[in-house]
Subunit: 195 residues, 2 copies
């Protein structure tokens, strides 16, 4: 996959939501950086500060944190054409407490904050695009709280499969369990019981 192809993927993705001119596309292309991660590599580790918005061109990633008992809890999963980050750190500019990790060999496009904020002025559509992204992030967080409070684990699991069919195929079950907030053993149990 050439870098030109990679840029096209990002541009099409943005263009799907808003209307971009040739000028806009040129401007966006100027701020792009590339990054490639091997399976299990970390994009962000606790103590880092996130200073980029990260678009998955190819591969699969997740963000998670460790609780006091060193249990992993997965907050976000993403594949091609998803954005992945510790938005807490990116927005607040504080140190992250999370890991953002590649689950497969992964190609990313990074948009550095400083250049991106300049771009907001030159191409206001991009500003709208990211405002929408932040809103959606908020809404999906709220959705998740609502689910976790009202649904039982088996229902959360079937919801997950319905919503993320393509991700479910590529991610180990123990990570799905850690996303759903249950142990892998219990997930295995649920799958058997209700199949």
């Amino acid at each position: 996959m050439t870098t030109a192809n990679q840029i096209d993927l990002l541009i099409n993705h943005i263009n799907y939501h808003i209307e971009l001119s040739q000028y806009d596309i040129g401007k966006i292309s100027e701020v792009i950086e590339f990054k490639e991660l091997k399976k299990k590599d970390f994009l962000i580790s606790p103590g880092d500060r996130s200073n980029t918005m990260n678009f998955i061109v190819q591969g699969c990633m997740r963000s998670f944190y460790l609780d006091e008992n060193a249990q992993e809890h997965t907050l976000q999963l993403g594949i091609e054409e998803w954005w992945i980050n510790d938005l807490y750190s990116y927005l607040s500019r504080k140190e992250s407490r999370m890991y953002v990790q590649a689950l497969e060999q992964t190609k990313l496009i990074l948009l550095p904050r400083l250049k991106l904020e300049k771009l907001y002025f030159e191409v206001p559509e991009v500003s709208h695009f990211f405002r929408m992204k932040f809103q959606n992030a908020y809404v999906s967080m709220q959705e998740r709280i609502i689910n976790s409070m009202s649904d039982e684990a088996y229902e959360r699991y079937t919801d997950f499969i319905k919503t993320y069919r393509d991700i479910e195929q590529r991610v180990p079950q123990y990570i799905i369990a850690s996303y759903l907030g249950i142990t892998p053993e219990f997930l295995s149990h649920l799958r058997k019981k209700n199949s």
Copy 2:
């Protein structure tokens, strides 16, 4: 409490975070609307669309929704100088699935979206202020997911008391239970066991 006092409270609140000129203050004052709710009145009900940002001048409010079993789940609590809303509905412009309700007699200042968006251009500081508010809302949602996944109920309860000491005093326990995601009976049990 005069309306001038109420406006002052809002202006001081905003001014605490950003720097406002006399001109800015005048402009903000122009978009203000007042609303007063009796205990148990609803500001928003399922099916409504939220078109205002809502600042609590005096009183106490909460947002909650009902799950399939008609169980209440509290998402947000607020007292004086807090903002309360169904941000999902406000941001996405879709119908709310939530209730936003007064827990005491409550005085509110409402900022209608259309006027507010015009104000963003006239007073960019206000735009920054609300961007910060949205960010904080996101971060506190994430915080809440992290807590609900890693902590046991008793720990979540003591965290709640520490963080919201002033709210805890004014809100019935069954609402705190529904915020923590446990039954009121179990909260009562926890309070006894660990006191």
